[in-house]
Every structure is written in structure tokens, then in C-alpha cells.
């Protein structure tokens, strides 16, 4: 059965049911009521009604901490003692034979021990790399997925695969699917926001937060670095009162026009969108103004430290947005692509992100938000257990490895302190429960109460679903 989705319709001239709107056109007093009614009626309006989930959800919100470039699994959450012993040697045949034939599998190169020590943490005793001393303290909240695997070793397509389900870049991102499927609890803010930090390259991968063939209002609003939501700042010469007067004038004029134009829900929705934009303009600075946060919160997220300030701010904003009912927040942190000097690269990336990530988990937990919020951490792939090229010593790095890598989940109904899946003794390929990006997608949707097979959008004579290449819910995550 398909979702009957009213947000899908943008046709012009469709007969509306809202005579009320039209008849009360000139009465300013009913403006707020009308706006609310119009929003609830959902005719191509910018907000989205909260639709009924397919099944009881374990999470209402999702935060995707996307570590772009590919953190090495054997340096972060998948320690391999055998790899430490075989440093500098060839990949043993027994493992090499299992590595799929993909370009840059690195199987002919020499093994590289991780420069980082691991130690066990929490009640679960899960080992975490010394890269993440803060996150390690919360390891009992994490469910590690150590057996993610796909076959695309190139950043762009792999990022599309990880966030949209295929490598082509023309399908909706998971955030867009979720926004479309569930709408938002906050009508004054976008339902999906993406923050970009330490972005590398001139054009990070937009498909990861675009809406593909879904209506444009479900795309992630992208915010770079220290920016705010675009155009939420009024012209300096204008006051709030002047904006109110301007909107009232505009509204009166538009309603006269609406009356002349007969029933037109699209025009009505557009009238409503001005009120929404006003609310957004008021709400957004409030969200982005961190001055109300206590000194201890600010220091928890590392806002007072130059290395952690940017990502810390994004993490704190993520919490503030979730707190206000926003459905999806994606934090994209670039630069994990450690082809050379992996040690210094990963140290720098971890130094910028570890404390903020831990702060986010801790803060969500202490505010009782973690139960409702699914947090996902990981990149588009991992890195090879071998070193790349002929570099030596601390200059050594690793190439991309999509065939086996680690991600983790926390909150939102996920059972922490456990490990799912296993790679071989060197961390090359999964030997137990290999997982596809599509399995992760199905799982995220499931946690949010959405059934991947029923979340269907009619597009060009096809019912499109988020997991177009298949995928199975990883039920052990919740059990």
C-alpha cells in the first residue's frame, strides 16, 4: 500500500476546498487562524504535517554525523592486533583471496599497523582508539556496525551511495525521504538542515542533502561554517514592526488577488509561505543565537577552543534544532581522506570532532532527547589495512576501502554497548554479517517508523522507494 501523499500535488487550477480562506480574505484578525488551517491542509505548503508512521517509531529525529573522506576503521573502532604484528608485510594469501577485485583495493601493498592504541571502555568493554577519548566515555551508548561494505572506492559516488542509496546522484537523500515521510514538528524551521564544516573541494556532494525527485521543500537547507539559514537576516534599515506592516500590506493585496482568481490553493499556500518565512526569520536567529547557553555547555561542546569551535557549534546547533522539533540534521565534516600521513590527519580530525560528538551525545542524554534521537556516525567508506604507495614512517597513509568499514549508531531505540558484524583479522572484508549502505538506510527509516517498502513516491510511472537497490532492516540494532 502506498502512502497517499498530499504534499505531492502542485498542480495549478486544482479545485480547492478552502472557501473559508477566500471568504475571510479581508479580515486581518483571522490571519493566524487561516495560516494554521492552510498549513494543516498541506497544499504544496512549505511545512509538512506530521504524518502517521507505518509502525511505532523508536526515534523521532535523526542526526547524521557524516565524516567525509573516510575514517580508517582499523584506526578508530575496529582494532586488529594481527595487523599490528604484520606491519610492513604483504597481505597473507588467505585474506587477499577474499578481497574483491575493485580498483585500488590496496591488496598488493604492505600492511600498515595502526599508529593508535586501543583500550577498552565502559561496562561493555568495547575497545576504542585513543583518537576518541571523549566518545570512548560514552561507548555504552554506541552500537558499532563493523561490517559495512560496498564496492565504490571513489568519494563522490560513494557519498551519494551512502546518503541517497545509489551512486548516480539523482535520487533523494535519506534526509529528504524522512522529511517527506514525516514532516516536521516545528513549522517555523526547515525540516532538514545540513551543516558543512572543514569542506574540501569546491563543490561538496549536494545530492547528499538534495531532494532528487521529491518536492523541493524536503531538501536539506545547507549552512556552511559560521553562516545562518540564508536570508533570515532582515535589511538593516527595517524593524520588526516595519516587517509586520509590510507583510500585512502584502497579505491584503494578495488576498484581493486571490479573491479575483477564484479557488487556487497554490496561491493560498504562497500567501501562507510569507507568514511561515516571517516565523522562520524570527525563529532562526533564536536557534542560532548561542548566547543563552551556559558557560559549562559551551565548554562541553568545545566552543572555547579554536580546534573544536566550528564542529562544536554545529553539534550544539543540532541539539537546539532537535529540541525544537526539527526532523533531520546532517553534519558533514570533511577532510578524513588520509592518503598520506594518516596519523597526523586522523589526529587533527579527531581533535576537531571527538569532544563535540561526545558532548552532543551527553547533552542529548541529559536532556532526555537521546531516547528520541537516532545519532549516526561514519563516512562514505573506510580505509585499507595496507599503506598506500611507497611512503614510510609517519608519512604513511591508507587508500579508500569500501569493502569493509565501521559506522556507529546511538540513541533512538538503539541498544548501546554492542558490536554487530566482524571483519577479518586485518580489517579488510566482513567475515560476519556483511552490511550494505542500503541495510543502514532501511534501519534508519525503520527506527523513525517508516517502512522502506511503503514509503513510495509516484514519479514517472514508477513508485519510487528510498531503498531502490534493496536493503534489510538490521533488527539486532534494536533488540
Amino acid at each position: 500500500m502506498l502512502m497517499n501523499h498530499p504534499g505531492n500535488s502542485t498542480a495549478i487550477g486544482r479545485p480547492g476546498r478552502r472557501t473559508l480562506l477566500q471568504e475571510s480574505a479581508l479580515c486581518f484578525g483571522t490571519l493566524a487562524l487561516n495560516a494554521m488551517l492552510a498549513a494543516e491542509e498541506q497544499h504544496a505548503s512549505a511545512t509538512s504535517a506530521v504524518r502517521t508512521a507505518h509502525h511505532p517509531a523508536t526515534a523521532k529525529h535523526i542526526i547524521f554525523l557524516f565524516m567525509s573522506g573516510g575514517p580508517g576503521q582499523t584506526d578508530t573502532f575496529d582494532p586488529k592486533p594481527v595487523l599490528q604484528k604484520l606491519d610492513g608485510q604483504r597481505v597473507p594469501d588467505s585474506i587477499a583471496a577474499q578481497v574483491p577485485d575493485i580498483p585500488r583495493s590496496g591488496v598488493a601493498s604492505r600492511l600498515m599497523a595502526s599508529p593508535f592504541r586501543f583500550s577498552k571502555h565502559g561496562q561493555s568493554g568495547i575497545p576504542v582508539s585513543e583518537l576518541f577519548p571523549h566518545t570512548a566515555q560514552l561507548v555504552d551508548e554506541l552500537c558499532l556496525l563493523r561490517s559495512l561494505s560496498h564496492r565504490n572506492p571513489v568519494h563522490g559516488p560513494a557519498e551519494c551511495l551512502s546518503l541517497t542509496g545509489t551512486s548516480v546522484g539523482n535520487r533523494p537523500s535519506m534526509g529528504a525521504w524522512i522529511s517527506w515521510g514525516l514532516g516536521s514538528d516545528n513549522r517555523n524551521l526547515p525540516s532538514f538542515l545540513t551543516f558543512l564544516s572543514n569542506s574540501t573541494g569546491p563543490a561538496p556532494q549536494r545530492p547528499g542533502w538534495n531532494s532528487g525527485f521529491l518536492p523541493a521543500q524536503y531538501q536539506g537547507t545547507a549552512i556552511t561554517g559560521n553562516d545562518a539559514i540564508p536570508w533570515t537576516a532582515m535589511p538593516t534599515a527595517d524593524s520588526d514592526l516595519q516587517r509586520r506592516q509590510q507583510l500585512d500590506f502584502l497579505d491584503g493585496m494578495n488576498r484581493e488577488h486571490l479573491q479575483r482568481s477564484g479557488n487556487n490553493t497554490e496561491l493560498a499556500a504562497r500567501i501562507n509561505s510569507f507568514e511561515l518565512s516571517f516565523r522562520m526569520q524570527t525563529a532562526a536567529p533564536e536557534v542560532f543565537d548561542l548566547s543563552g547557553e551556559t558557560a559549562s555547555t559551551r565548554s562541553l561542546y568545545g566552543l572555547d577552543n579554536a580546534r573544536t569551535a566550528e564542529f562544536g557549534r554545529h553539534c550544539l546547533l543540532a541539539r537546539r534544532l532537535i529540541e525544537r522539533g526539527v526532523r533531520c540534521v546532517q553534519l558533514r565534516n570533511g577532510g578524513w581522506d588520509a592518503h598520506g600521513s594518516l596519523e597526523s590527519n586522523h589526529l587533527a580530525r579527531a581533535a576537531a570532532t571527538d569532544q563535540p560528538v561526545a558532548a552532543l551525545l551527553q547533552d542529548l542524554r541529559q536532556r532526555g532527547l537521546l531516547d528520541d534521537t537516532l545519532v549516526v556516525w561514519g563516512g562514505e567508506f573506510g580505509r585499507t589495512p595496507t599503506t598506500e604507495g611507497v611512503a614510510t614512517g609517519r608519512k604513511r597513509g591508507r587508500d579508500h576501502s569500501p569493502v569493509g568499514y565501521t559506522m556507529w549508531l546511538a540513541g533512538g531505540g538503539v541498544q548501546g554497548g554492542r558490536i554487530i558484524g566482524e571483519t577479518d583479522e586485518l580489517g579488510y572484508v566482513p567475515v560476519q554479517q556483511p552490511l550494505l549502505p542500503a541495510d543502514l538506510h532501511a534501519t534508519l527509516l525503520h527506527a523513525l517508523g517508516l517502512d522502506q517498502h511503503r514509503l513510495a513516491f509516484a514519479h514517472r510511472n514508477r513508485d519510487e522507494i528510498p531503498t531502490v537497490l534493496g536493503g534489510n532492516v538490521i533488527h539486532q540494532v534494536f533488540a
Binding site: T10, I12, G13, R14, P15, A44, S45, A46, D93, A96, D101, P103, V154, G156, P157, V168, G169, N170, P202, A203, R206, P215, A216, Q217, I229, P230, W231, T232, M234, P235, A237, D238, Q242, R243, Q245, Q246, F249, L250, G252, M253, N254, E256, H257, L258, S261, G262, N263, N264, E266, L267, A269, R270, S273, F274, L276, S277, M280, Q281, R460, N461
Partner: protein, 1033 residues
Amino acid sequence: MPSQDHPTHAATAAPIRSSGVLVLLMVLFGCRLCHAGSLLQDAVHPSPRIAEDLFRSQSQLPGIQRGGWKHSPVLSSILPGQLLHSEASRPGELLIHGTGGRNNPFRRELAQPLRNQPFFIRFQLCYAPQPADATSIDPEFFVLWLDRNDGGDTAVHSTNVPNIGLHVADRGPLQGQNVFMIRIGSSNVAWTSTAVKPGKTYTLVAALDKRSTASTRYDQLRLWIDPTPDTLPTPDAQISAAGPDLIRWAGFATGLKTEPTDEIRVSNLVLSRTWKDALDFSTDGSLPLRNSDGSPVDPMLANHRKVSFQTDVFPLLRQHCFDCHSSAEPHSGLRLDLREEILGYSTGLPMAVPGYSAGSRMIEVLREESPELRMPPADHAPALTKEQTLLLAAWINQGLSWDDQLLPPAPRRTSDHWAFQPVRRPHLPQINSTEWVRTPIDAFIAAAHEQHQLTPSAEADTESLARRLALTITGLPPKPEQLATLLQPDGTAWQNYTEQLLNSPHYGEHWGRHWLDLARWAESHGHQHDLPRPFAWRYRDYVIDCFNDDMPWNQFITEQIAGDEILPINDRQLIATGFLAAARISGNEMNKAIQRNEMLVDIVNMTSAALLGLTVECAQCHNHKTDPISQRDYYRLQAFFASGQPGNLALQQADSFPAEQASEWMPKATYSFYKSEADKLVRRRMFAHTPQPHTWGFCSATAAQQGVERLPVVNRDPLPWQPSASLSQQTRLLIRGDTGSPGPTVRTGWPEVLGPLPDSQRLLTRSDLARWLTSPENPLVARVWVNRIWQHHFGRGLVETSSDFGPAGSAPSHPELLDWLAVELMENNWSTRHIQRLIVNSATFRQSAEFDRSDADIDPSNQLLHRWSIRRLEAESIRDSILAVTGELNTNPVLGSVPPQTEEQLLQRTVYLYQRRSEMPEVMRLFDAPDLIGSCSRRDVSTVAQQPLFLLNSDFMQNRSRALAALIQQQAGPDSRQQILAAFERILGRQPTDSELFRSEQYLLKSRGTDDEEQLRRFCQAMFSLNEFLYVP
């Protein structure tokens, strides 16, 4: 125990003839003796053969493991090996030509990789250089390699890889002559001591083994030429060096020295565990067939009485299969009433392989245990009995006999779908309300009105009509002085105004953009790096010019489809090929076959959508499920484009620009990225900046031969240009759309259902395609274009799904009108403007948007056009209209494109803003511009909160409103009423109503006295945000 057969010990062992299977097995499978199960299994089939390829046609079919290989062979898409004499019963030959570059024409993966077993490899080779009587010796390179990986068409299988073949000797007594060679890596080489005679067929046997059992790698390679059983101890060449630890693939490679005129024939390829078997040709072809799980093929299936098609098979098929899988529109596009379709003619994926029932899909689905996957489906009919299945299996094993009387071969596929019928001019309908009719269009519209008792709306007021006319023709609102002329009409005022608009240069800028959407045109390669295409804007300007010249539509299509083929070559036609060249090309796809195929897929999908209005993309992987388009049809279309590719094409007459001038039209960061990537290529000598004028276009190898010059391209890892290979390249149907599974070759052609192919032995070219597209017999092209013209005037086409005229698309609301317009187009020199005059002069177009309850009840979505439907402006028209109103629109010619850094300074039309796929202009992204990945036939209209935020808060809108406020103050002075009147005239093109005047005065006065200018700016900004301003009235 030593054995003469075992390669490891053979050289040192005394020849002892061993007897008894067990003794032999102990040697061969010594390491597995503890494994009773496998020993037993091998004892049943004590074949020393590992794999064999006799280059017979049937051995190339996919399906079961046969001959010890995992799949069918992988053939190079640069230049594949060709099968000769490929009858099913006899061994064939593989013919290989050089390409002058590295090529791997034929490779194959073993069913089981070889790790610790020593083995022999045997093949026959005949080397025939052309011309054969050349006196000087032509140095050659040709090898068989054994490697862990395939690596693609151009992979170099050298480091640690055993090579066996022929090569020019670079030292020794035969220096400079072609000799047989073995090597492991390029430095460990051995040559034979006799030169290779052209035209002679040699048998080569090589042994690959390990000198020590402790070694993890193969490290010894020996070669015998034309061996006899007793030459084992005396190989002709021998080397020791570290080789691979595991071998999964075998393949042939040619190199720089191998020329296209050279012929190399290979045959009887065998991998074997024993010397005796490697030398034994009599057992070739006896390797047992295995199912994909490795189990032997069910012998029951192979031994059945002789079956009769007429009495045994036909009744079964008819009773159990034909309900769904027969005739022109079968389920899943699969039909069993045609033998060629059973053999996979249209998909490359046979449902039955003659002689091999166990590998046949048909038998698989009949024997399927899961009720959902079984055929016939469980909810439709009971499963076939075991006897019935065996009968069908035997029919397949016995050669798939057929009776052409019972089931004749299909005539050309036809369909009764309306859009595939020839276009004929219908009679004008008889109607009562003839006085309403202004152009013949109205007769068709009125007929439907009368039939449904609809009353058309009254004519719209002059102001709305002028605005509608100007916005749909030029994308800009009318100027106040033009409106004034219309308000005092003489008899020809409207006609004059229409002509003025159609002849304005802004017409092409607006209508050209509609075409650019369909052509998914952009100024960058797309994908991850999305590097710019610096001169792609020439195509944009070409499109704009063509509309402004009212170029006949058939010529417009022809130039875009075949501009590089039409002689004499000229700049305009080369620029026109930017249509095909707008395909995305990945900058980091190392698999060149995939990189090329993605580009071709993009071209086929876009061309079909834009010109034919068909969604053929489904047929890339399987027969189309809703349209009568087969997978073969898809690849026949692809074949038209296969010998060409996009690139920088040199121009003769066009303006020349110094390379660095591109910085003036690219976004800053984009240009510096482009420059750094270009510099990298310059250092690798793969690129050079040139002032030579060029364009981003498409040309084939033939066009390149005829003089079209290609210049290098900046992309991270560009698509290689290999004209000699492209010329001889044959398009192969890709099984399930996978470049790794090439199926049968196909010739150029259009979908069968759309019309017959010319009776010609000659390969059809893109010029032929263009001729067919623009022929009056083509059922789609004219219909599709007039429908698009209609859509861009009315907001919706007569066929709403304007790029899907197939059976799953929507039916035309006025089918006769559509055909009448299509004929009008063709009979009036394919003039777009002729159709537009008919439309904009019609009473239908001139109706008001007024809402009438009773008409709306009959025709709620206004499909029958009983009134005008208002619609939001497109992104470009919103920005351009604002600039037109403020008087700031800069209409000077644009040099290149306009980047963000000079946008505010130049203020030119939006169509000229730089179009990088990943970095589209803000206003376009915000107001639903297309994604520029696929062809876009109709833009969405979204309503998001960011739109009002942009209108009320952006710098762009503040600047425009401020400019307008200044203009109004200058024109109307300080009097607020005069200011309001001026603002209404400029922005909405009309006088305010009393209540609007009242509201406006109230609003303007609110902040009067404190900041008059800012309040007027706020007023103008609010007026720009009005729905009325943002909609075509």
C-alpha cells in the same frame, strides 16, 4: 610419487607410466587426500582439464559454468576479439587486431581460482601481419596473461604477471625479429631461438609452477613450441621469477606495437593439470557442464527420447505460457512464441540455450520451488509436472527445434498506440459558436466545449492579455509604452505587438531556455569534480539564435544530431552538437567502459525524451515493461552515438579568446579549480592551453577523419579518445545493462515499432537518424514539439506528460488538434513561430482566468481550456521581470557567461548566468530550475519559505527595490499617490483598484516623514513579492 604428468616434478622425473586412477589422483590431489568427499567426487570425473575455450559461439553464452569458466568472456569495448567460423559444433577461432595502444580484447575468469596447483596452458596461435609480403620486419607484441584481476580494457598485466606470446627480441641473435616470448614482469624475459613465421599456426604450451612447495607464489614459467609428448624435459624457453600467488583471470593483450592491420588468430585454449592432457586435442570439448553451484548437469535432462515440437512442445507452451508470454505486448517484455526471442534476441539474455537445458532460464523458473518466483505463477496456474519440465528440457537439449508454420517469425513489431500512428491532418470540426473562433485552433477547443456544455470565459482585459503575451513569448513583462499602444487599439495593434515580441531578441532567450532544459545543458562535466566546460556557452547562444531566426525545426534537429557529419563542416553545425555533448562525464571513473557507457546512456535517454517524447531508459537493462521498446531497440539507438564522444572541437571562424579569459565568465573558485586541474594535465603533457577558438561539441571518429579537429579536455581522468578503435567498434547489447556482460552485436537503428529501417547494407549514420526524425512519416517528432509549444504557452501540454508519449503517458486532451498542429508545423517549413501565431491569436489563449463555478464543476482541472489557468513564472522570468521593471536589465551581448562575482554589476538575463551543475545560480535553485542531470520537460512549482525570505531579505531584492524607488521618485515626484500609480504601472502593468490604492496609501504613510525613501523601497519590495507579479495572468 613422481609422475611425468605433474609439471612441478616433470623436468626431473624419469618417465614412468603410472597406472590406476588412485595413483594418479594421489599425485594430482595429494594435498586433498584427507578429504574423502572431494576425492570421491573427483574420482567420478577424473578429468585433468581445468578449463577450455574453443571459441565456439555457444560457449560464449551466459548461464551455467561451462568449460571451467565462471562466466562468459569479457570483451574489450575498445576493440573486442571476434569469433570466426563459430558454428556450435566445431572449434572456432578468435581474431584479434591491434589498436596501436594497450588493449585486452578477450579475458575470462576461471570458475575456481588457481592457487597452489601447478598447471599447463595450451593455445594455438597464427600471426598474420598485413601486408603479408612486407620485406621489413614489423615488431609485434601479443601475449596471453594470467593474473589475479581483470583490470579492464587497457590494464597492463605486467608486474608479477606471467605473459606468454610473441614479442620483438631486443637482444640476442634474433634481435629485431619477432620471436616467442615468456616473461614474469617486464624484466624477467626469455625468448625462443626461432623467429615466428607469419601465417603459420603454432601450438604453444606453457607450464606455470613453483620451484619449492614452500613458496607461496608461482615462480617458474616454461614454454614449448609445437611440443611432442617427449619434449617435456626440453622447453624452448624457461624463466624463474616471483609471480602471482593466485590466478583468477586469463586474457589476451595487444600493445603499442600491434597495429590495426595485424591479424592474430587464437584457438584451442586449454588449461590442464597434466602434460598429456594439454597436448591432447581429441578430448577438447569434453569438459563436463556444471550448474552454477558446481554440481554436474542432471543426466536425466540430457537423455530423453526425441521430442517433437509440433506434438510435444507447442501444446505445452500454448497451454502454460502463451497467455502471458506471447504476442506484441507480453508480460515483462518476454515472449516465447518467437524462437529468436527465446534465444535472447532483444535482451541478449537467452531463456533457453540450445543444448544446455540446465543452464536455461526457462527450466530454472519451471523448477523453481518458491511459489512467487515459479512459472507459471502459483496464483495463476499449477506448476508443470516433472515429466512436462523434462520434456521441455529435452527439447532444449536437442537443439530447440521449431515449426515456422505453427509459429512464424515475427513481422516488424507494430503497435496500435495512438502516438505511434502516422500523423494525418484531421478535418476541422463542425461547431455552432463560429463567432468565437479566431484561429482554427479554436474550432477544436470549441467542439470539446460544446460537447461538454462548457462556456468559454470572456476575453481577458488588455492589461492581463498584454502581460500574458509578453511573458509567454519573451519571459519579460510589457513596457508601459507598449501597453499604452494596446489600450488605444487600432485594428492591427495586437498583431503588431505579437510580431514585435516574436522578433525581439528576448524571444530566443526565453524559448531557448525551454530547449536547454530538455537538452540538460550545462557548463560542466557533472559528477564529483564537476569541472567546467569553458566554451559550452556557444551552444546556449546557438540555441538562442536559432529561435530568434525561427530556424526550421527539422534543420535545428538535424544540426544537433548530426552537425559534425554534414559536409562541408562549419562552425555553427559543430556548435549545434553541444546538444549531444551536454551529457555528464565522470572525472574519476577508472573503468573506461563504464565511463563511456554512462555517457552514451545519457545521450540516448535525453535524445529519446526530448525528440521522441519516449522514456526509453527502462530498456537499458530489460525490455520496456509498458512501451513496445525492446532492449535491442535501445542499443540500436545507442549504436548511432557509439563511435563518437563529447570534447573540445576546433572552430574556424568563431571569436578567439586567450585561455585566461575564461576567468571572466566562470565563478571564481570554479575557475581556480579548473586552472589547477588544467595545470596538472599540462605537466603530464595531456593538455595545452590554446587561443584557438573551440566549442564543447560531439564528434565521431568519421567526422574527425573528415577534418573536425579535437582539442584536449580538462577532466580529472578524461574519457580516452581512440578514433581508430571507435571506427571499428561494434555496439553490443549489454546484458542487464552491465558493461561487463556484452551480448550480441547490434547495428544502428531506431525502435522497430516506430517504423521500418531502410533496406540497406550500409550502416546507418546519425545523418540517417536525423533524416528519419524529421521525415513526415515520423509519428512522434512533430507531435512532441507542437505539444511542447502548447505547454509553454498554456502551462500544460495537450499531452500532459510531454516527454512520455508512450502507452503509460497521459492521453491527449484534444488528439485531433494535436495532429492538426503537427501537420501545420511540417507543412509550414517546420516554423515554430507559425504555430505560436496560431496559438497566441486564438480565442482560447485570450480567455480570462475568471473562475466560473458551473464550468469548474464540469471541467475541474481545466483540461478542456474553458478559461485561462494562471501559473507561476519560471525562475529566470522572475529575476528577469524584476530587472526589466527597475529598468536595470542589461541587454548588451554577453561574452561567455555571467559568474556570481559580476552578476550584480552586469545584470544580464538569467539564461546567461554560469551553469555549473553543482553550483547553480541561487535564484534558479530556489525557484525550481532543473537538476541538469536528465532531460527536464516540465518544471516543478514549489512553495518554500526560503522564497519569501529571498524576496524580502536578499541583497539582490533590496538593490532592485531601491533602484525602482529611485526611478519612481524621479518619475512621480514626492506625491505618494503619484508614486503608487507609477509603481502599479511599472510592476503590475495596470492601475490600482480603489481598495488597493487605499491600502497602498495607508502603508506608504506608515513610515512617512521618518524614512520616505526606505519606505518606498519596502513598498516596491512588497509589490515584487505579490502573487500577481509572480504569475502569468
